[in-house]
């Protein structure tokens, strides 16, 4: 299990390196914001651990906060990125 997962980890790392080759300066912020939204994937961890039937009030509270945090990360991240990019969208066809 560990070796399989490590193989996946390494390959995913190389994909990450490969995808970001040459990015224009203007897109640095939206790209950072977009990758930022993607690591909101931690939300899944909260779902799995809480869904596994955690008991105890404190543990439950911790996990609800974790899920809320993860959701903020995902939802906020993608929406903010879209708003930033929306500013660029109008440019080429915008009023001349």
């Amino acid at each position: 299990m560990l070796l399989e997962n490590l193989a996946i980890l390494v390959l995913a790392g190389f994909i990450g390196f490969a995808v970001i080759s040459k990015v224009p300066n203007t897109l640095h912020t939206p790209l950072m914001s977009g990758t930022n939204a993607i690591h909101g994937i931690v939300l899944l961890g909260g779902l799995i651990v809480l869904g596994a039937g955690v008991s105890g009030v404190l543990s439950k509270v911790i996990l609800v906060i974790a899920i809320a945090f993860g959701t903020i990360n995902v939802v906020g991240g993608f929406l903010v990125t879209d708003r930033m990019l929306g500013m660029f969208k109008r440019k080429p066809g915008g009023q001349k």
């Binding site: 993607i38 903020i72 939802v75």
Partner: protein, 463 residues
Amino acid sequence: MTTARTALYIVAFALFIYGLMGLTGPRTAVRGNWIAATGMVIAIIATLLTPNMSNWVLIALGIILGALVGVPAARQVKMTAMPQMVALFNGVGGGAVALIAWAEFRHSDGFTGDPAYVIVASLFATIIGAISFWGSLVAFGKLQDILPGRPISVGEFQQPLNAVLLAGAVGCSIAIGAGQKNQALIIGVLLFSAALGLVLVLPIGGADMPVVVSMLNACTGLSAAATGLALNNTAMIVAGMIVGASGSILTREMAKAMNRSIVSIVAGGFGGGGGTAIAAAGNGVERTVRATSASDAAILMAYANRVIVVPGYGMAVAQAQHVVRDMAKLLEDRGVEVSYAIHPVAGRMPGHMNVLLAEADVPYDQLKDMDDVNDEFARTDVALVVGANDVTNPAARSDPSSPIHGMPILDVDHAKSVIVLKRSMNTGFAGIENPLYHDPRTSMLFGDAKKMVSEVIEELKAI
């Protein structure tokens, strides 16, 4: 059911990667963002398909709470406040990682029966996640001006302090790994890492914050991947690692655009220990500054052939992009050639100024990158600096002792005359003196950017 989950995860990976590729090109970026978001929705649904899930009400509660906070925050944040919002969203991601590891520690009674790699991955995630959370909060505070932008450090004790805190976090982790089950230990890991996150980012100057946020972003990605290893969840491994890797590359690219090395940024403050002392020494010498009026500025620009506008954070704060556009239009009607010089890190994030000017419907072809525009300053009659400071500081070119020496700047001082629109003589975000203001060709127009540009417009109409 698990086969279905895995299959959906694979679809999600493909969408993440395709979406990210889209985000690297201006034409495909908007679509790329939504493709990645679709991948995220699929990954979440797939996870909820896990057999024998319980605590559904609490899960729903968490998601609803998060959506209630996240959606309005993202919708309502002003464009100027975007950088700190990204820092905040990144921070809560790191916080989630740390909290999950804490709950997992409690749930499994101190990782009882877990293989060693699960314990190592969980504790790694705890440390990095907590650093990212608290570090991002400091970055948020600095960008939001809650905390001072200048470096705050304990001088020569900085590195030993960092080392002690790291040793504390790792020490508690080792005790847990050795089989100790005391709750205080995991809380110790969290507290030491939290303190480390704070003291790592506090000494870094405000101008370097974008790079720091990007770096913390990569860290959160790595910690998410580690959590994925611990929970044996491939979706988290893949997405977390992709962000970790692409975030590192992006951090390097950003640092390169500012001509700063990542090492020197992390080492704290501008140019290491001496940075602040040099900046303070510059203030001792009293030099002359020429103030001007809106009408003089209007006359100067109205009879110019070429005007280059250099926008900076001050324009963003004053929301002056619309009046600047109106002014440019008036000048163009008089036959003046107007363009905008965009420094890669003008404002507080790369691309910040492009976003704002695009919002004000400034034609795309008038926005010039630093490399394209720098040669043109020598042929320019008036450079109008609107709320930019450090990116126009000629000391970066000429004064090797300056803390920002070597940073690429806009050669505003090559223009025949320079008008600097500024609220006061205060130093910029980096906290250093700008000799441009004492140049005999420079005149200062003090006041709020929006108000002053509006006055210039009135004067232009009167001419």
